[in-house]
């Protein structure tokens, strides 16, 4: 059973976002990392890059698969988790903590409310696996 923290918001592309003020921290869910297998590489954008919601902002690779990363909300990148360059395996071991991927300044008011809650995401992943 995958881990889904209560305090985060979730997208259908299996990204999570935690919000403080107008800043969001984004990563991929435990469910996503599990589906992907051993993560070997994470490609992330540069600080200052701007993205629409659902736009691809990078990719995450396992040995035999590549998954695009999609922005859960529109925003501008203000910080990138450089440590994932050397330790991509953190995406497997700590997807909601050490393996956060980017921090964004959210440019679209109310966007977070359109995302799923933890309970909704749990139902969503259950439906998807069935």
């Amino acid at each position: 059973m995958s881990n889904i923290p209560e305090n985060l918001h979730y997208s259908k592309d299996h990204e999570w976002i935690g919000v403080e003020g107008d800043t969001g921290t984004v990563g991929i869910t435990d469910h996503a990392q599990h589906a992907l297998g051993d993560v070997v590489y994470v490609e992330l954008p540069k600080v200052g890059d701007q993205f629409e919601s659902h736009q691809s902002f990078g990719s995450v690779e396992s040995v035999k698969a590549v998954s695009e990363l999609y922005m859960p909300v529109a925003g501008e990148i203000v910080e990138v988790n450089e440590s994932l360059q050397d330790e991509p395996e953190k995406v497997n071991t700590d997807p909601y903590g050490a393996a956060w991927m980017v921090r964004v300044r959210i440019t679209e008011a109310g966007a977070v409310d359109k995302l799923m809650t933890a309970a909704e995401y749990e139902d969503y992943t259950k439906a998807e696996t069935e």
Partner: protein, 449 residues
């Protein structure tokens, strides 16, 4: 058919086992209207003796294969140690598949790892792949990679790049939105020039061959400097890898991508293929490389082994977003090159290069002394090829040299450039004894007297 183990009786029995009566029923899922109702119109089967006699007779018409040869221009006659062909004919090498299952492919994987290492050492680069089809497609792939790395869409190519390499690059980029432009060419020096009007902030890369198509060694260091000042990548193409035993490596001169034709490393001339594309670059660009890569891995017990790695760049995973469409490359030819570089080794590679350069210098000097002959780029350093300006039409001169003196004297440059009617490109390697060079010189003299 002797290559099919099961006898007709055995096959009949197998058919019955799967519930069929006749071989035609195996194809019942093919609509009847597209089943071929006749035998293929092909020659009847030959026995081994008949077949060999037939091919020997055909091969006898390849008269050029038996002559002393001074033709280079992208394919070179070099000595190839005997052990190479006997080793590559081991079933374990030539009948194996691509090493996707590492536990039963360690031989091939270790060879590729050794090959990658030697290509890096020879070119002065940090990473090399498991091979491309040949030098020409390596150039094309390097151009596409430069666009991925820089996100710029203009590539400037030296006019002294092998003309067929340029043609291949043009085909490859024709749908990639990349514009190919030309660098300058110093007709006095026979070298590539790069001016500020040509290279700009839209330029992804500059492509230069050294020694270039006319045999001149390029000043790579200053080309690298100018290229890097514009934020572009320098792609260096090498058609004659024997030169790397003597010349400063492209990597040491500042190249960002080095592509080469590896045929000189023990591979037979073989009428143009299979040859071997070498592809090397800086470590920071490894994930943008085309082709397969082998890396070190360990099993649970910590034993060292090798695996195909960084495969997410490739077509079987990333499909239309892959760095290249290449799948099958030139595995067995990379093995030839690896055994060649191992057998010749550090000293042999240097000695081959030195002999090539010395013999070419001798030949060039002797030809330049002939009445009416000159070397248009005599002042520029060269390796084993040089451009000769004859007093007469070069194509006709070389034709007569072949017919009347039984020597293939080089390549008439009019093949690629009609304005160079009297120019030809001569190549001398360690396989040309002095007597052959003297015969070449004597033949040229006799035909122009």
């Amino acid at each position: 058919m002797r290559y099919i183990p099961n006898s007709p009786d055995e096959r009949a029995e197998m058919l019955r086992t799967v519930g069929l009566n006749a071989p035609e029923e195996l194809f019942s899922s093919i609509p009847a209207d597209i089943i071929l109702k006749r035998q293929l119109d092909l020659p009847a089967a030959l026995s081994e003796m008949e077949l060999l006699a037939r091919f020997e007779a055909i091969a006898a018409h390849n008269t050029a294969a038996r002559r002393p040869n001074f033709l280079g221009a992208g394919a070179y006659s070099h000595y190839s140690p005997t052990i190479i062909d006997s080793l590559i004919q081991r079933s374990e090498f030539f009948t194996a598949y691509t090493p996707y299952q590492p536990e039963v492919s360690q031989g091939t994987l270790q060879v590729i790892f050794e090959f990658q290492t030697m290509v890096c050492q020879l070119t002065g680069m940090e990473v090399a792949n498991a091979s491309m089809y040949d030098g020409s497609t390596s150039v094309a792939e390097a151009v596409l990679m430069a666009e991925r790395v820089t996100r710029r869409r203009k590539v400037i190519v030296s006019p002294a790049l092998h003309p067929e390499y340029l043609q291949v690059a043009q085909t490859y980029v024709s749908h990639a939105g990349i514009e190919l432009a030309q660098t300058g060419f110093d007709e006095q020096a026979g070298r590539t020039t790069l001016d500020d009007a040509t290279i700009d902030e839209q330029t992804a890369a500059v492509v230069v061959q050294s020694p270039n198509f006319y045999g001149c060694v390029e000043d790579l260091e200053s080309l690298a400097e100018r290229t890097h000042a514009a934020g572009a990548l320098l792609i260096v193409a090498v058609t004659e890898c024997a030169s790397l035993g003597l010349l400063r490596s492209p990597g040491a001169c500042g190249a960002d991508i080095v592509v080469a034709e590896g045929q000189s490393l023990g591979v037979p001339l073989g009428y143009g293929g299979p040859y071997l594309g070498l592809f090397a670059t800086r470590e920071k660009f490894a994930r943008q490389m085309p082709g397969r890569l082998v890396g070190v891995a360990a099993d649970k017990e910590g034993r060292r082994g090798f695996v195909l790695t960084l495969a997410t760049r490739e077509q079987h995973i990333r499909r239309e977003k892959a760095t290249s469409n290449i799948c099958t490359n030139e595995g067995l030819i990379a093995l030839i090159a690896t055994i060649y570089m191992t057998t010749m080794g550090r000293r042999g590679l240097q000695e081959v290069a030195m002999q090539c350069a010395q013999k070419a210098a001798y030949a060039a000097r002797r030809i330049a002394e002939l009445p009416g002959f000159s070397l248009p780029y005599a002042q520029t350093p060269r390796f084993n090829e040089f451009t000769v300006r004859a007093p007469v039409d070069a194509a006709e001169l070389l034709r007569r040299l072949a017919r009347e003196h039984n020597i293939t004297g080089g390549l008439a440059l009019s093949r690629y450039d009609p304005t160079r009617a009297n120019d030809f490109l001569a190549c001398v390697t360690e396989t040309n004894p002095r007597a052959e060079i003297d015969a070449l010189v004597a033949g040229l003299k006799a035909l122009t007297a």
